[in-house]
């Protein structure tokens, strides 16, 4: 028996022009509880549906127990699914819903009876077998949907946001029960959710997906404590994400202060992103421990802890969680442990495109023509265009804009916002701004001629 029950290689899928999954590589260990986590539209459900067999991959393969299952129709796959809105058959009662799969396999009556009763007991719904499924509450329907799937003893149980339709209290209870069920049954669970808390609570392994790509795979603690990029850090839990500079091994600068850290191997004087979790910034009264000071800006009680926003002496805003409140307006001394500073490689340091000089003084990129200095370049020549994040102007109207787009992703970086804008041409432009925008806002994009930097296309630039 192989250790990996599912092995996914180079899996890609597009709907029309839109690439929903891009070169996914993933293996699932036998018996583990693995969660596909990501915002809506990230491709996680598509991945699950391909494993179940409802969608065919464009490229790549899915191996189950070492065998490629590309050509196997869903009804022959030894997998069962718990659907998002349960999909219990309204024309059958609870018993017949659960017995559906077994009857299709021509299982003997008494065996069906035995197994249905067993799973009903497992999901604590023993007295409900004659009930009409439409008379059940959401939580009860959920249990029946799970029972209907596991009664077939699948090798892998696929769960597509199974708790999304339940209220908070019910969701918490079901989380515990699911975990317990997983332990009792010993089968592999592949779980899809957009709820990071649920993922952290339930999973052995979390796969963070965004825009069709796997961002990070790891245990809940790995993912929480050592996010590999700003997206993961922002998506999982609360965090302060800040621009920083790795001075040398184990020494990093951010919020205009220097800190000891535990990260190595980034090189010297390299730009990085830094993540500090709000519970990892500590208050102190000992001037010797103090690394920087700040003024408390707001303080809100959150049940277990207090959530405070502070303005540092260097003009950055940080979020801090602590069990003790500090009065608004007070000056506080703060420090961060080297262990609690997570340094991440910067994915990009500026916007970079390949463009074409269309005329004297204009260059085309992002599907639009921008004015700029084209001295030293010929008309028709392909050039590398570079624009710094903070040099892109966003307007709330089209009038003076050169092209337009929509805000796709917003990251607060302590003293400014880092926005991802999807332009009309479908490309992305990243922008640093102090203005407040909302997700999906329509924006006009303008860049001053002097801020567009052209370079000859060289092998190094490619």
């Amino acid at each position: 028996m192989k250790e990996n029950i599912i092995d996914i290689r180079h899996l890609s899928k597009s709907f029309g022009d839109k690439k929903v999954l891009d070169d996914i590589n993933l293996y699932v260990r036998r018996g583990e509880f693995i969660t596909l986590l990501g915002p809506s539209g990230c491709g996680k459900t598509t991945l699950l549906r391909m494993i179940a067999g409802f969608l065919k991959p464009d490229e790549g393969s899915i191996m189950l127990d070492g065998k490629d299952i590309a050509g196997v129709p869903p009804h022959e796959r030894p997998l069962n699914t718990v659907f998002q809105r349960y999909a219990l058959f309204p024309h059958l009662d609870v018993y017949d819903n659960i017995a559906f799969g077994l009857k299709l396999k021509k299982t003997p009556e008494d065996e069906i009876d035995k197994r249905v009763r067993k799973v009903l007991k497992l999901v604590a719904m023993s007295d409900y077998e004659d009930r009409d499924v439409e008379t059940l509450s959401g939580g009860q329907q959920q249990r029946i949907a799970i029972a209907r799937a596991i009664v077939n003893q699948p090798k892998v149980l696929l769960l597509d946001e199974p708790l999304a339709a339940l209220d908070l209290k019910m969701r918490k209870d079901m989380q515990i029960e699911l975990k317990e069920m997983h332990r009792k049954l010993g089968i592999t669970f592949i779980y899809v959710t957009h709820d990071q808390e649920e993922a952290l609570t339930l999973s052995d392994t979390i796969v963070v997906i965004n825009e069709g790509k796997i961002q990070q795979i790891g245990t809940p603690t790995d993912i929480y404590n050592e996010p590999v990029n700003a997206f993961v850090a922002d998506f999982i839990g609360e965090s302060n994400i800040l621009k920083g500079r790795m001075l040398r091994d184990r020494r990093v600068a951010f919020i205009k202060h220097e800190f000891d850290c535990v990260d190595e191997g980034f090189g010297e004087d390299v730009r990085v992103d830094v993540v500090v979790r709000p519970e990892d910034i500590y208050f102190t009264t000992d001037p010797a421990k103090c690394q920087f000071t700040a003024k408390v800006n707001s303080c809100t009680f959150k049940g277990v802890h207090y959530e405070m926003y502070v303005d540092t002496d260097t003009g950055y805003e940080l979020m801090i969680q602590d069990y003790d409140p500090y009065p608004v307006g007070s000056e506080v001394m703060l420090y961060i442990d080297p262990d609690d500073i997570q340094v991440m490689k910067k994915e990009r340091t500026e916007n970079k495109y390949t463009g074409t000089v269309t005329a004297e003084g204009t260059v085309e990129f992002l599907g639009a023509e921008f004015e700029c200095d084209t001295k030293g370049f010929e008309v028709g020549e392909d050039v590398t265009v570079k624009v710094r994040f903070e040099k892109v102007d966003l307007l709330d109207h089209e009038d003076e804009a050169i092209t337009t787009g929509h805000v796709e992703f917003i990251l607060y970086m302590g003293n400014h916002y880092h926005l991802t804008i999807r332009t009309e041409s479908g490309e992305k432009i990243w922008v640093d701004t102090n203005d407040i925008w909302d997700k999906n806002d329509f924006v006009g994009i303008k860049i001053l001629p002097k801020d567009i930097c052209l370079e000859k296309v060289t092998a190094a630039n490619e």
Partner: protein, 257 residues
């Protein structure tokens, strides 16, 4: 401010006057003789008149056959139309319901002429075919509606639990589409029994259906017997409606456009 529930009042009065009272009048006239005295003779006449009885039996027979024919032809069509894999545009669906809006008499006349031109003897065969042609859209539409609105995850769940495409259809899609079939039956069966002009055209007056004898009696001023025949039809409507239950209220023609 007057209560808005009072707004139902004018329509209530209207319905009583133009629906309830007229239906009661059918009962009243059916149980009266020409001079206005109570009698059961009209009802008795129907059950002792061989011609009426055989027309009645034939009407029911034609209606059942027509309904079955409409289901056999209409269900696959509705299924294909509702299946995204085979049919992507709404235009094809419109083409299927469009004939419902064309004057039925004209269509029927044209059908009859087509038969004559093709040298086919007008009779029961042409009657059945013409009826089916007239009422097919009324069967296809409600079935299509139910299939189209059906949550796709039911079929997927069945597949996931090991059902082959054939089993998915037999055990899930078909039972779940029954409300559509039932309202299709309602929209085909009763109109077939009661039609008069259509059967006359399609058989060149050779075959009379129940609707025709009602019409002849009313037109010949035999109101009481005509009312008695109408009463019998009302009883059948009552029975079929009762059998159908309230399951498919939402699938009626109301949502065609």
């Amino acid at each position: 401010m007057n209560k808005r529930s009072n707004w139902a009042l004018p329509y209530f009065i209207f319905l009583v006057l133009f629906v309830v009272v007229p239906l009661l009048l059918i009962l009243v006239y059916a149980l009266q003789d020409a001079s206005g005295h109570f009698t059961l003779a009209n009802i008795g006449k129907f059950f002792s008149d061989g011609d009426s009885l055989s027309t009645f039996a034939l009407s029911i027979e034609v209606a059942i056959e027509n309904t079955i024919l409409c289901i056999l032809i209409g269900y696959p069509a509705a299924w294909i139309l509702a299946n995204k894999e085979y049919n992507k545009g709404a235009v094809t669906v419109v083409l299927f319901i469009l004939p419902m809006w064309i004057n039925a008499l004209m269509r029927t006349l044209a059908t009859a002429e087509l038969f004559t031109m093709a040298g086919i003897q007008l009779g029961k065969g042409t009657l059945l075919f013409g009826m089916c042609y007239d009422y097919l859209p009324f069967m296809i539409y409600p079935i299509y509606n139910v299939l189209n609105k059906m949550d796709k995850s039911y079929a997927e769940a069945a597949q996931d639990l090991g059902a082959t495409p054939g089993e998915v259809f037999r055990k899930v899609t078909l039972p779940l589409s029954m409300p559509g079939v039932l309202s299709g039956v309602m929209m085909v069966f009763m109109p077939t029994v009661s039609t008069f002009a259509i059967s006359e055209f399609l058989t060149n007056n050779k075959i009379k259906l129940f609707g025709t004898i009602i019409q002849e009696n009313i037109n010949n001023s035999m109101w009481n017997y005509g009312a008695a025949l109408s009463l019998i039809m009302l009883v059948i409507i009552g029975i079929t409606t009762f059998l159908q239950g309230n399951e498919s209220e939402e699938n009626s023609v109301g949502g065609i456009i």
